[in-house]
Symmetry: C2
Subunit: 281 residues, 2 copies
DNA sequence: CGTCTGCTTGATCAGGGTCAACTCAGGTGG
DNA sequence: CCACCTGAGTTGACCCTGATCAAGCAGACG
């Protein structure tokens, strides 16, 4: 509760001291250092695993403070992470040291999955607030899947879910205007806060304009200007990191200003193709 | 070898007639209708599965002709697809009927993975040439993983690989200039052709400028102009769908025209962060 | 032979990037 | 307590990249 050093305690996260491992003393439960499989499933929003040994699968928690790195690019991969509380970002670093934000993991999100392929993390994860993370050794993860088929399926589901999210991201970056991107970003944040039990109408951004811009493929100035514009129109209220959602429906339906002709052509093309496909089938 | 009908036989695909299933007669091998697990692993570039029953895991091939849809958005999911030969595109359709190209699957690529999450395909796959696809019932896929641990790991690897690919895509769309995107697209095509045993120096595009543009978040005019520009500079030669790679290294290193200051600042910021992280660790 | 689709090229324009100045909040140190 | 510093955010002026609109061409096909 007391802020010890350089504090950036924006989140309501419990502030524990650092625990390298805690492994030297078996498994103790001071505070909340371990989670069982049921809690994991709940967090990940997947069906719970039935009849398993309570004590068999326990997963360690680790705390990170604002600004700390969870893993870096190239680091050997062996564990996945689930966010129990707090906010993070995952970033790619290009050859010039430029950051590209890929996601903003928060409660219930899993990250580190990109490490499976090459046995090395392909991205870097950084805490945007004090965080409580659950460590999932990848070996144990798959091992559970082997003995509990429902869980195995869930693992695939979680990975597929992540893939779909990225697809939506690509689609957004490829097709939407700056205003539409920012609008969608706010809507998705609002929805995620609602899922986590927070207010969907009033919340604090945990990331800078620069990070939002990087995530959305925009500059920080454009993000700032767009937020200001939304504010003036009355869609939201903005005061630094604090965002108030005034008209979520308007944000949700806000899109690129109609490039009319493209639509019509695409629609025609599609109906024709559908016809020919049906004919040849 | 003879061109029968409306030929778009740009690929070296064997031209078979349509087979609804062929299942009525057990498993026959006229031409090449079934693949065993070893062939699957080889295609997917994953380690082969040892000692399994040859006849136990056989996977059906299906042929599609240019323009045919393999699956559509919302269709019930139950099988994954592996490309044995031919070229395809996967697309998202927005609320106005606009297409957003997500990928161009070719030999050795798997698609349909986005269906796992919701039990419905989230994208649409269309054949850009005559194709020979291998059907992998998802149930059987996971079942193999259960009895052959190496294979299970490979499944995760393939999904993770796909995720990393999408991340790279997001990064590209978010940060690179039009020329850089087109250049990288050509490089990656060249490399994939090389992997498939074709020439990396001279190949035919299987997709339209419009599709390339959609994939790269550009208009077809910009794609066309950029290719012309590369042609004039002597990086490539272009004649409609035919592309000759002249200077792959130049294409590979081509990037956004230096926004100088950003780099420097980012570099400084990074080195500072690294320092403070080391101090607090 | 006419049509259609894909491709190229030109002219124009605007969305958003770039550069710059200024404000504000929080932390630091005298 | 105040001066100072730093990093985040806002806003304005300007300009460039790439989208839009338009015209023309070539190959495929009925």
């Amino acid at each position: 509760m007391t802020l010890l050093q350089h504090s950036d305690l924006s989140s309501g996260t419990n502030q524990l001291n650092e625990i390298g491992t805690g492994s030297e003393s078996g498994w103790l439960r001071q505070g909340k250092l371990w989670s069982n499989l049921t809690e994991i499933c709940e967090l990940l929003r997947i069906p719970p695993v039935s009849n398993y040994d309570e004590e068999e699968f326990l997963f360690q928690h680790v705390q990170f403070k604002t600004g700390q790195r969870i893993h870096t690019i190239g680091q050997a991969f062996d564990t996945l992470f689930i966010v129990h509380s707090g906010f993070l970002k995952t970033v790619l670093i290009d050859e010039f040291g430029n950051e590209q934000v890929l996601s903003f993991p928060m409660k219930g999100d899993m990250f580190g999955v990109d490490g499976i392929h090459t046995k090395r993390y392909m991205s870097e994860a950084v805490a945007l607030s004090n965080c409580d993370l659950i460590l999932i050794p990848f070996k144990k993860f798959t091992q559970i899947g082997r003995s509990h088929i429902e869980f195995e399926h869930s693992v695939y589901t979680v990975m597929s879910r992540e893939l779909v999210r990225e697809q939506a991201m690509v689609s957004m970056l490829g097709a939407l205007s700056a205003e539409a991107r920012v609008a969608r970003f706010l809507v998705s944040l609002s929805e995620r806060f609602a899922e986590m039990g927070y207010s969907s109408k009033l919340f604090n951004l945990r990331m800078t304009r620069h990070e939002i811009g990087s995530y959305l493929g925009l500059t920080l100035e454009t993000v700032s200007r767009t937020l200001s514009a939304f504010n003036e129109i009355g869609l939201i209220s903005v005061d630094q990191r604090s965002i108030g959602i005034k008209d979520i429906d308007a944000l949700r339906t806000l899109r690129r200003l109609p490039p009319s002709s493209v639509r019509a052509k695409a629609a025609i093309r599609r109906s024709k193709l559908a016809g020919s496909a049906a004919a040849s089938a």
